[in-house]
Symmetry: D2
Subunit: 198 residues, 4 copies
């Protein structure tokens, strides 16, 4: 139905997260209407992304600038005894936005669903073990995975993996989120909220 070039770009955009073929088509027609400069701006930005953005050697957070470490890992005032493990880059951003955490991070790069080898190999397990081994100043490891089934499976896997290292291992607190009603809360969440009352 579409010209080959349009179809090719629809196929590429369709693989973007959350994008289906219909939205991908809208992206292409959106680009078709844009003036030349805006298209060039998009292309040069994508190129810059590939050329300028580095991945932090310590936490795997993307960053720009000199050296091998990202802004957070470089900052002297961050508490180096705290290591927060997150699934992905946007989770790190979510935690930073709270301004309640002053430790360091490690981006796992994914989750495990049912402890399948294929899943585990996608995580940066070796790099994580290395990081903890080389940084004896780490005292607490926070397993900040989602509280979805996959996130919990990942936390459980990491807990077992890291246990022999004799560090304090914690998870994010469970309870009622802002706006929640008791009537619609699941029993596990409500149990946690009761136990965690203060």
């Amino acid at each position: 139905m579409y010209s080959p070039t349009i179809q090719k770009l629809i196929d590429i955009f369709s693989k973007f997260p959350t994008v289906g073929p219909r939205t991908a088509a809208r992206f292409v027609f959106y680009l078709l209407k844009k003036p030349k400069e805006e298209i060039e701006n998009l292309i040069s930005s994508i190129n810059e992304l590939k050329n300028n953005v580095k991945i932090c050697k310590l936490c795997f957070n993307p960053f720009q600038g000199d050296g091998e470490l990202c802004e957070i890992c470089q900052k002297p005032s961050r508490d180096k005894s705290l290591l927060c493990l997150v699934e992905k880059e946007t989770d790190l951003i979510s935690i930073e936005k709270t301004k309640k955490y002053n430790g360091l991070y490690f981006i796992l790069g994914g989750t495990v669903s049912a402890l399948k080898r294929a899943d585990i190999e996608k995580l940066r397990i070796k790099e994580l073990e290395e990081r903890i081994k080389n940084h004896p100043e780490i005292k607490e490891i926070i397993l900040a995975t989602n509280s979805t089934t996959e996130g919990q499976a990942t936390a459980l896997y990491l807990e077992r993996l890291l246990k022999p290292l004799n560090k304090k291992i914690t998870r994010l607190g469970r309870g009622l989120p802002v706006g929640a009603e008791l009537e619609y809360a699941d029993e596990e969440t409500l149990s946690s909220a009761l136990e965690g009352r203060k």
Copy 2:
């Protein structure tokens, strides 16, 4: 459009919680199709509700049976040093279902939104003060209101009201509910989850 009797019953059902005129009409046509015995069963059940169900003198929970106290308030094994304040009956049920709470309850009968006198007068404030005064064995008062804006306003109001009584006052723990993703959690919830890590 509808016959007067049908319209009258639609109007009554439309006032039921969560019911609009369209659903109310479906209720009426549903009843119209039911055999006589089922209608009589409904009517006698509503009558029984009014005649047999009493309100517990202590916690205001509806109950059936002898005496003035509900099953929970009568039970010797419940921990009488804990008093959990809830907005409404279904919240009490939600907490009971967790099987993690063994104290007593008090049903407030509503929430306050903006500390308006009209709202406050709907709550059983006098009865609550009486309850706490007459039961010095109460050591902890749990403000188990929703974590909605109204629930929080109510908790705040109660906290100020009960402060002079010198009891331990707690609130349900905040944090990530089961199934939540960090990326979509609001900052306040995520902050609580971080602070409440364990």
Copy 3:
């Protein structure tokens, strides 16, 4: 968890259309809080429904008043050559609200899903055949079933059943509803909209 009387009424309300156990519980607690007069008003309205509301001998529409025919069937100005077949009472009301139809109705009392005998027996087929036979003034039969799979199966079944009667048989027009966008319309709807352009 609930007292027997409360549980019994929750069970009854849970069978109401669109109502689950949680909403049913809210209905019961809502009734518990109502003053005696309102409860008596509800009960007398349900009783009136059973005692005062009759079912029209011709179209099966519930009505109040003298005689055996509903207001619509009695009205001399209605066009008796048009017979509109609808699934249920609320569909009749929906069509009346448009003020664009001046014929008579027949309420089928249900739909057939896959031409199962059990489904067909729930419809008023015999009564429908009787109605058409006894009213030779009927010239057009409008199959005003939903355009869902079940509604379409019912229309197809009726079309075959009524074909030998040599009446004009029509269906509601297909096309784009108010507010629809071409981009999200299914192909069948869009095809009908194209064919039905005017």
Copy 4:
């Protein structure tokens, strides 16, 4: 919070249709993980889009190939007496998918909301008038705008504009879409469905 290059690309993607900042961030992290070849493939596809895709001189549909006309406008078997006016490229595709239309198209390039001059100037009005003037073989003009408020306002505007040309002007048929229930249909749609019965 993000590095400048990441933020810049998030800002660009945030302007894509249906994309907000959170999804835009996911796009960027998705691209960051992709190997060099995939990024180059994306960039070359965007470049090809700008370089290879032409806009049809007749209907304004994007196309690839020799000449100035798109595949549809070139095809001898298409019925040149029919002209279908659509808001945008994806609407043309939606109609083509039905395989029920064999005429030609004209892409308006937008909609008017309240007959504001700024809106009208965004439409290809002059080009449309030119098209119709130069093609006296056109007998019917189909106003295939959405049946949203804006689409209807656009159709009304076009109807008035094209009236003096003495061509047959039609609109897409209104009625119940596939899957619709009478109970939830608005009165206007149901009225159209009644009038358009067949």
